[in-house]
């Protein structure tokens, strides 16, 4: 597993929730390989933020995208070569703020991608501003008197938008989390995991999540049940909250075609253009 790491210096705060996510993802890659998905086909991406450093720490191919644009980047990769499995690490500000339109539309079109959203409820790398998921009243440098906005609920929002695999995970429950990553990557369609990630320098939520999360015993069977579970606030359920089989975007678009591998030769293209330009 060592070779899944790189020489890049780790610059997360000691105790950061991202370490658990990194280690879980590496283990998930090994499990996926055991299931026949080789690592050369697992393409990673990330946005910009503390979560994004995952990209440098993983010895896997991929694209370190712009802030909020990684959801678009991986859809482009998937469309060009549908044989690839694409996964992006996306912070909550990245995924639900700057990149919200891309996230929602990816769910709407059931793009065959996986978003692992590191939800730490804060813009940590830019020193602690409130995010679209921070609770009302969060005091950061841009909201010194406390944020006056209610947060989004990412799971109910994406359920409404058309997501076909939704889960919540807490990295302290490592095996449970690893299994969720494997399922999300294997899922054919839009899969999304909200990862409850403590950011020790700004919000040390380790104890809170330990006391307030519980593993879902029964996976919701219907959209309505899923919506109820997604909206629960007494305890934060972790596990698969919604799963549905639905045709994926690229197959609806071009069936089993592969734009990159089956690209038309120069001769064929010119022949067709010649035909188009011939005067009838």
């Amino acid at each position: 597993m060592e070779e899944l790491g790189t020489y890049a210096e780790k610059t997360w705060c000691p105790g950061c929730g991202n370490f658990g996510i990194l280690s879980a993802f590496k283990k998930a890659v090994i499990k996926l390989e055991e299931k026949g998905i080789s690592r050369d086909k697992i393409i990673i991406a990330s946005g910009i933020g503390c979560h994004g450093k995952m990209f440098d720490y993983l010895n896997l191919s991929g694209f370190y995208s712009l802030h909020g644009r990684d959801m678009a980047t991986i859809q482009g990769i998937k469309i060009a070569n549908p044989k690839l499995k694409v996964v992006t690490f996306s912070g909550d500000g990245n995924c639900m703020g700057e990149g919200l339109a891309h996230t929602l539309f990816a769910a709407k079109r059931n793009a065959d991608i996986t978003i692992l959203m590191h939800n730490n409820g804060v813009y940590a790398l830019t020193t602690g501003q409130f995010t679209p998921l921070s609770e009302k009243g969060w005091k950061g440098p841009s909201t010194p008197k406390g944020s006056i906005e209610e947060p989004f609920n990412p799971l109910s929002l994406l359920l409404e938008a058309g997501a076909t695999f939704l889960a919540r995970a807490f990295p302290a429950k490592a095996d449970h989390f690893i299994d969720l990553i494997v399922q999300a990557v294997e899922h054919e369609g839009f899969s999304f995991i909200e990862i409850l990630q403590p950011a020790v320098a700004y919000r040390n939520t380790w104890e809170f999540y330990k006391n307030n999360t519980e593993i879902l015993k029964d996976e919701p069977k219907t959209y309505v049940e899923a919506m109820k579970v997604a909206k629960r606030r007494d305890k934060l359920p972790i596990g698969v909250i919604y799963r549905k089989a639905k045709p994926v975007y690229h197959k609806e678009l071009y069936g089993n075609f592969n734009p990159t591998l089956e690209s038309l030769s120069r001769e064929k293209r010119l022949e067709k253009i010649k035909d188009l330009l011939s005067v009838k």
């Binding site: 050369d40 370190y64 678009a72 980047t73």
Partner: protein, 551 residues
């Protein structure tokens, strides 16, 4: 003045089919082997307003329409009022005699005859076609073959209506204009079709676009042709998604292109800069309309030149080229796709509404089409940003046992983020080597067009070149015209010999962006700037008068 062209103008409300009538008129002329230029003037609305189409034709190469028309067909009163001063000497003005108002010329009951059919309003344009057919002495049989092909929906009714109108007008205007026969049957295509075909021919796999006039018809043409060429065509949520998806697709090895006009391209700038850093080969078709902001959506301008040259934050190689004609748009788009892949950097094919949406007969030699083929990694250890002599790192596409990392951060050769001063220098220098490499490469290519051998010197670019060439022709002016095909890098090496000459610059920009660029890059100062910025392209006759005035 030598005007050896015949011009047909048809105008009416949006929805009455004037645009389509223009296209069918063009078919009449091309079927005689003539050269054709068709201009469409329409408002940003779906119904009502005033739309018109101008089709100029000749038995020699013709590169712009003429606003003075030999035959004008007005489907409504507003058209008549707009165009009553556009009639050429000995021309014929036709008006719809069923509409109220004081009009002179040949009255034709277009509306009342149409009322005998199920969709009368949509038929008026067909009437315009038959008036033209009668006036140029087309037989009814020949006319009806073309009408049947061009108006397949309600074919029988259209043919019947066209025949009636033909019989009504023939006694008065039949065979009034005898057009010469041309030398060769040629296809007629729009500028956006030429751009699309050039990209497809050079290897395009995926096209991303969000609708914006005048670039939308690239998206539409690509979508319509997707099955034929194995193209994947996607219209995502916005232009930011457009360019980021496109960059993702290039990472996987697909040849991609995006397209928009100024406002949409403004949204793509962030991604354009990403392409500079990640060294993603992205081609953008940027079709200019009147700006700034929403501007005048369906009219032409060349106000985004500086914007294109400086697109995206940060320092990186941007390739910008602008075609003079619809034919050149085909070749140059293919060349640009080849160039962005050769140099792994973003590029812009810069054009205008006047080229995008006009149609012109073309003679394309397909064998001369470029083909995009990147330098590939040939085995051994792979580093995405390997620092080579010319700055171009060989490519490898996933899946691969080698790790392939593209990134928006400054990075080392492997693609891992760096903040190290030496590493930053190394990568800046590596990317900058491509600036030199491309100049050496372009020195072996055709980067400027020179028209004419003697006489005063005119500089222009883009589709304004077509207007200038047509103005020289009709004004019988002997001049030399230089049109840089490439605007970045600017082909200064071709222009050393012209520094001491007195120069006229012609462009569609209030600020004279092109003449300023010429001066900045080469020291060539334009003594005269002939510019227009009212959304309309130059009319050849007016422009030739302006040129004569300054000579």
């Amino acid at each position: 003045m030598v005007n050896d062209a015949f011009t047909f103008l048809v105008g009416g409300k949006a929805g009455e089919g004037a645009k389509k009538t223009g296209s069918v008129a063009a078919q009449f002329f091309t079927s005689k082997g003539l050269h054709v230029f068709q201009y469409v003037d329409y408002m940003s609305l779906i119904r009502g307003g005033h739309n018109f189409s101008v089709v100029s034709t000749s038995n020699r190469w013709i590169s712009n329409h003429y606003m003075k028309a030999n035959l004008i067909v007005n489907l409504d009163k507003r058209s008549y009022d707009t165009h009553k001063n556009h009639l050429a000497e000995n021309g014929i003005m036709v008006y719809n005699s069923d509409v109220e108002g004081d009009m002179e010329g040949v009255g034709v009951p277009l509306t009342s005859v149409a009322k005998n059919y199920p969709k009368p309003r949509l038929m008026l344009g067909v009437g315009g076609v038959s008036i033209l057919a009668a006036a140029i002495g087309f037989t009814k049989e020949k006319m009806n073959v073309i009408i049947g092909r061009e108006y397949p929906s309600g074919k029988e009714e259209n043919i019947s209506y066209a025949t009636k109108i033909y019989d009504i007008v023939y006694p008065e205007i039949g065979n009034k204009f005898q057009l010469k026969e041309g030398d060769k049957l040629r296809p007629i295509i729009s500028g956006n079709q030429a751009i699309s075909l050039g990209a497809i021919a050079a290897g395009l796999d995926v096209y991303f676009g969000y609708p914006m006039t005048p670039a939308s018809s690239i998206l539409h043409f690509m979508a319509a042709q997707s099955d034929n060429y194995g193209l994947t065509v996607i219209h995502p949520e916005n232009e930011i998604a457009v360019i980021n998806m496109a960059i993702g697709s290039t990472f996987a090895g697909a040849k991609t292109m995006v397209g928009s006009s100024g406002g949409g391209f403004a949204l793509m700038e962030e991604g354009f800069s990403l392409a500079g850093m990640a060294e993603a080969p992205i081609l953008c078709a940027l079709s200019m309309r009147s700006g700034p902001a929403t501007g005048v959506p369906t009219y032409t301008e060349q106000g985004d030149l500086n914007f294109a040259l400086n697109a995206g934050h940060g320092e990186f190689l941007r390739i910008v080229a602008s075609p003079s004609t619809i034919e050149e748009a085909y070749y140059l788009t293919a060349e640009m796709l080849e160039l962005v892949w050769r140099f792994q950097t973003p590029g812009i094919i810069l054009t205008e509404k006047h080229l995008s949406e006009s149609e012109m007969t073309v003679d394309i030699n397909l064998d001369k089409t470029s083909w995009a083929e990147p330098k590939m990694h040939s085995g051994g250890e792979f580093k995405r940003y390997f620092n080579t002599e010319d700055g171009i790192s060989p490519l490898l596409f996933p899946p691969s046992k080698e790790v392939i990392k593209w990134t928006s951060y400054e990075h080392d050769e492997l693609g891992i983020t760096t903040e190290n001063a030496d590493a930053i220098n190394l990568m800046h220098n590596k990317r900058a080597k491509k600036n030199k490499a491309i100049i050496e490469y372009l020195k072996t290519k055709n980067t400027i067009n020179i028209f004419g051998e003697k006489g005063p010197l005119i500089f222009t670019y883009g589709s304004t070149t077509m207007s200038v060439l047509e103005a020289l022709k009709c004004g019988d002016i002997e001049a030399r015209v230089i049109q840089p095909r490439f605007l970045s890098p600017f082909p200064v090496w071709e222009l050393d010999g012209y520094k001491k000459e007195s120069v006229i610059s012609i462009e569609l920009s209030k600020a004279g962006q092109f003449s300023n660029l010429l001066k900045d890059k080469t020291g060539i100062v334009s003594e005269t700037l002939l510019n227009r910025y009212d959304g309309r392209p130059f009319d050849p006759i007016e422009l030739s008068d302006q040129i004569k005035e300054v000579l």
